[in-house]
Assembly symmetry: C2
Homo-oligomer: 278 residues x 2
């Protein structure tokens, strides 16, 4: 199963298109039109890049008239476009993610250090955060060798089967970790995926003690990676950083001997930068 | 003026926070709550990463009760969070931009080639599209040397003062070009910025004839870049690609002698890939 497929499978399980009000929002405080409009955007994906009005309405579970009003509004705001038959998404949607990145200074520090790291070790480097039971990629610095994992900023992968995920799970308190392991869909993704709650609990404990995670081919055949946590000025884990490579590219032991020390140095530099910025 | 400042200045002029229904949306078809909810997201930026409810309401021009309902809905959807005093954006917003990227296959091709190019020439490479009077960055492959231009995917820069922008303006028909030059805010950004309509029209014509644009320090002091168009299977310009570097890093003439040929080769490769994919 590829990362994209894993992400797709994951989404199916954890994300309903119309989530409805969460416990934080009293029903009278909930604006359904906003929720539905964002669900219309999420109705488009790699498998459905162009959809008719009736397909969008069906995907989101709305009456066609409602879906049409939402699409027309998104069109006026330049987030979607139509040729009269089908609708598609527009690049302006990237601005909404950029608004998040611009408001969170930690990512400038992380990106700068990971850019240097990717150049030094000549491998792809990334950073991510825990978002529900997934890791969400926030920074991605590709190196020139093209990875089979074609993931982009904003992509989700299952936390339990990724090195960044195990690092982030290791930062949870015991209750939150148990809740995640109990709730998450732990079906194996490759023949190598560790997927029993007991084994995962042990691996996460090991990661917490040693301060890093090394993973081979559990998320995608041929891909191996190391990950480590980064901390804000108060010492709280705010993200995981990782270097990933292909098994055919580095000799056995090289991941641990060459890539891990470089990653840990970058993580320590990030921690120090964040401490200095307060 | 930095790129961020230029982008900020630009936004001020061209983007009202609540744009209201465009000509494509009959008033009865317009869903104000969706529009307002997205405006609430856009009310956060690098200068305002954390805002109180009343600050958000003021920035978007809404009654506090309306802003509160929108924020609570965005919180239930995991796009914002609050500590009870101030609100901030959440990484899940990155998924909305990712939805756009996942639905547009051209960016896979562009990213793959630009990753190779950035490694070959050891400089940062990017791709962008015209969005109104701006260029919106869609792909960004940083090289290990850190650029002073800290731009990310989703960032806008004024088209008239960027090499990608001039390449994209050169692909417009005469009427659209004149309309853009008449409408855009052409105030110079550095002492080098060409900003008269007549001079810009000549430069754009030159770019159209030669098929590329070389620019020195017009968008930011010390930054020089080359850009070229890429075309879909039908021959239409779908994006511009660029390599940027610092004046202190490459000797005079190197931009044209070394970086331009590499960029043009990458652009030709992208065109061929897109042709093959149909």
């Amino acid at each position: 199963m590829s990362v994209a497929e894993a992400a797709g499978r994951w989404d199916e399980g954890t994300r309903s298109v119309l989530p409805g009000p969460g416990s934080d929002a009293p029903a009278t405080e909930y604006v359904r039109a906003l929720d539905r409009g964002l669900a219309v955007v999420r109705a488009f994906d790699a498998q459905h890049p162009r959809r008719s009005l009736s397909e969008v309405a069906r995907a989101v579970g709305l009456a066609p008239a409602t879906a049409r009003r939402l699409l027309h509004t998104l069109q006026a705001l330049d987030y979607v476009r139509t040729d009269g038959l089908v609708w598609w998404l527009r690049p302006r949607l990237l601005e909404l993610g950029q608004a998040y990145l611009a408001t969170t200074t930690v990512w400038d520090v992380v990106r700068e250090r990971l850019t240097r790291l990717a150049g030094d070790v000549r491998e792809t480097s990334s950073a991510g955060v825990l978002e529900g039971d997934d890791v969400l990629y926030v920074v991605r610095v590709p190196y020139r060798r093209i990875m089979s994992m074609n993931v982009e900023v904003g992509t989700r992968i299952p936390a339990f089967a990724s090195s960044m995920g195990r690092v982030l799970l290791a930062a949870l308190d015991a209750d939150a970790l148990e809740a995640t392991l109990a709730r998450a869909d732990l079906r194996p993704i490759t023949p190598h995926t560790v997927s029993s709650v007991t084994a995962l609990r042990d691996l996460v404990t090991e990661v917490r003690e040693q301060g890093w995670c090394l993973m081979e081919q559990e998320l995608e055949a041929g891909i191996q990676c190391v990950a480590a946590p980064v901390h804000d000025a108060s010492g709280r884990v705010v993200a995981a950083v990782t270097v990933s490579t292909h098994t055919t590219r580095v000799r056995p032991g090289e991941l641990r001997d060459r890539l891990l020390p470089a990653l840990l140095e970058a993580a320590a530099d990030i921690d120090e930068d964040l401490r200095r910025r307060g």
